[in-house]
Symmetry: C2
Subunit: 563 residues, 2 copies
Amino acid sequence: MQHLSPHDVMTMFMALAVLLGCAKLAAEFMQKIGQPSILGEISVGIFLGPTVLGHYQPKVYETLFPTTGPMPIVLDTVTTLGVVFFLLTAGLEIDLRSIFRQGKSALLVSFFGVAFPFASGFLAASAFPNYLGAGAGASPLIFALFVGTALAISALPVIAKILMDLNLLRTEVGTVIISSAMFDDLVGWILFSFVLGMMHPPAGGSVADGVKHTIVLVVLFVGLTLTIGRWLFDKILPFLQAHTTWPGGVLAFIFTLTLAGAAFTEYAGIHAVFGAFVIGIAIGESGHLRKRTSEHIHEIVTNVFAPFFFASIGLRTNFAANFHLGLTATVIGVACLGKLLGAGWGARLGGMDRTSSLVVGLAMNARGAMEIILGILALQAGLIRESMFVALVVMALLTSLVSAPAIHFLVRRRRSLTLKDTVTAKLFLPHLAAKTRLGALKEMCEVAAVAVSNAPERLFRLVAEREHILASGWENELAVPYARVNGLSRPLVVVAKSAGIDFDARDGKPARLIIMILTGDNQSQHDLLGDASELFSHKEAVDQAVHASNFVELVAALNAPVR
Amino acid sequence: MQHLSPHDVMTMFMALAVLLGCAKLAAEFMQKIGQPSILGEISVGIFLGPTVLGHYQPKVYETLFPTTGPMPIVLDTVTTLGVVFFLLTAGLEIDLRSIFRQGKSALLVSFFGVAFPFASGFLAASAFPNYLGAGAGASPLIFALFVGTALAISALPVIAKILMDLNLLRTEVGTVIISSAMFDDLVGWILFSFVLGMMHPPAGGSVADGVKHTIVLVVLFVGLTLTIGRWLFDKILPFLQAHTTWPGGVLAFIFTLTLAGAAFTEYAGIHAVFGAFVIGIAIGESGHLRKRTSEHIHEIVTNVFAPFFFASIGLRTNFAANFHLGLTATVIGVACLGKLLGAGWGARLGGMDRTSSLVVGLAMNARGAMEIILGILALQAGLIRESMFVALVVMALLTSLVSAPAIHFLVRRRRSLTLKDTVTAKLFLPHLAAKTRLGALKEMCEVAAVAVSNAPERLFRLVAEREHILASGWENELAVPYARVNGLSRPLVVVAKSAGIDFDARDGKPARLIIMILTGDNQSQHDLLGDASELFSHKEAVDQAVHASNFVELVAALNAPVR
């Protein structure tokens, strides 16, 4: 029985540490510049893989990611677990009911958003299979079906992230987009399950047998899981929460089902990720699933296991050597055209105006995780050549990259302002000298006035007037005085800590944390007050900010409050 | 480059699903009967392994856990990740300062609790190496050192669990025990690192070189990580919380460091788990690590990844064929004698009375995860034979099994009563007919009276008197009337839901959930009132209970409230 040697174990941990550390570093950087984190994770993988590191430092590359011995199996194991768990969380986030609730618009966007790119991909691949990188010996029909599917599928997590960043998630356009993307994901995976079933006929059977076998099993699996399974999970969850340790029992139940679902779909002839996805949807539908349970899964999976997978994409091939400009440009062109036209036209038919329809098309055009997973499976199965795989990954990255700025340009929605982005070290007063309410306001206005070269008396008058109308003491030892200051070009937030000043709070407690908000417009004021009220709804969050001994700790309290 | 075939992927997910599902089922059962969950996880592994399943159903066993092809590597990968992550959480829970704070008693218990069993194990193994299962060709000195170490180490997680279950964790005896066990773990691992260093001399070097190499690297690693590293992590954590997504940035940081630490200690010549453990201690010391962050890690690791490892122990060998009664009895005898005498004597020297000292000895005697991990490493390295491995695992299981009942017998501490254990379906009234406070109390007393064949008037008089002195309305639409009822042999809890009855709550809101507590003694009353106040400190928890439409959902609300 073969086991891992100490050297293998060392290599494994080294490789995983490098992958995770670099991937998350790049992901955080991407998020800072307003791009989806997956772009960073994938780019780092390309850098660490044969394309850059393997090309310029082959020895280092071979030490970190040996291509012989047990290491490829070890990496395969970890990344397969990573992607299966990632699809579980994606499934948990899908809300079947909201898909149906959106009615006509979502249905039209979904339908045309799938049909157009599928048709254009299918036609292009049927006409030019070799130019589009069909694998040697791959069936032309299966290849054409694959290309159609790969171009039809959207990327729910990427789309959700973009809408969230642009403050569009809760708008009508946003809900239509999300509902359509969920539907797309489902349809895309079911299409792909047929492609995979055609690729792997059962031993001794024909292709037709393989498809029949896969279709019967997959339809049974999806049908039963989303009806009887869903009903059953909804009954079992409260039972588990009543009679087992919490959240341990529920977590083990979810992961056991996920692993079993993954094994079943793999047995049926399609990939394990599909089983995990469907199980995730069925469990996520239950009203008894606690937010906290899915939070544990979501945080560990998206921050630790998914990065292993996304970073490993770049390890699979040399993206420079296999890059073909013509092929890549064609794939990008066909993909974008089909999706923009299809989804946009669907939105128009659903009664949306021209700009909103374009926004829908652009959002649905963002690709990401899903087509890359499909691409990997097709590459492993010999259905496509490496050049087509590279083209698909580049297409996914590029469409994601373009989506956010393009939508931003069209809608010109501003992100909502947060305290975290507005506070500055200069406007943080860890030790307020004043002992009275008006004294404190005066002291804080003086600091603010310096920062904008304004007269402190004017600021103080405005704040004091506001304070006179309505006392600014909130609960939990917090006070939030604020005022509109005409002509102020950017919002000012002054944060001060005091031993306790009475601000006439409802709970009667003196304020130990005072956050003064001065804005030139109503929108910023609304944003910042809303952020403060959300951040400090718990006493613990105020305590954390009160205990901040320096500016970094204050920002930490505003960025990631204790909840 | 070797990859996992679809069949391998299916087998992998099937094997993991079976391991996790069975392990957690058994773990929950063990917890129900008051035993540590690890006993269930390990027993299930023995059942699924060569001992039972492999013996009676060799075909099923070979399908689930093939011993050829890539599957052994796949399982090795998952279980190695599992144990490394488990040691990370164990490290995070260790509190270096409390070890030093306990002073004399803890130091004496630690010292003698390590020295006695180490000496007796070392002497026994030196005298009878072959009888005690030394591997063929193993150095007698290294073998004796190993046996001493394996008997000296305690099992922090198991001990903590036992003390928690017996309500002893916050007592003086409990704190001494926990501090000593932490110290033991540290010393045991450092001892073991030397044993491992002696086992793996560097290529071309002598054993002495190997030890020197390992000792220098390990001392450097532990020394630097627990001083400069600890200081540095404490500075970096607030920075990450301020400038990266939360908790994603912190989680990725912790896991990257853990993987890197694991790789380094493996490189130094000792096992990866030690690096994860030390990194865990250093990060856990930071006051900036949020409870929520470590909770995410703890829940997913202990409920999903650690069970993979503990269940896999039983897959490694045939516990029936390799069971030698004489050897096992000797190991158990030497282990218990050394630990009981050593730790107990240390406690006596520290000034504890005879019973407390025996409790300390019994608690420290509980073994578990740690010696099994050591045993696996020694088995893989050929240092011990399978019979000794089986003896060590049986010893670990048996000492854990005996500890809790024995301490319980000595101390006769009762577990504190909880509402969850006291409510019954008969005493749950989902629709209260009464509309007034006294009417509600009367209705609930009538139900309670039937259950204990008591006069309802008497119960009502007692409850109403109590209500008259102090209204029982709590905040958040909850009322908790209660009374002492002399002669009541067991506590009664009646739970009723109403549309809203005024119970004179401080926040003025009418009660929608009424929990009546009737007890015959003060202690139960104190326990149940305390449990109610802890459970329902948040409005959400009351809402959850109010929305319970049947008894199972009510128990769920009492067992795992929304927080």
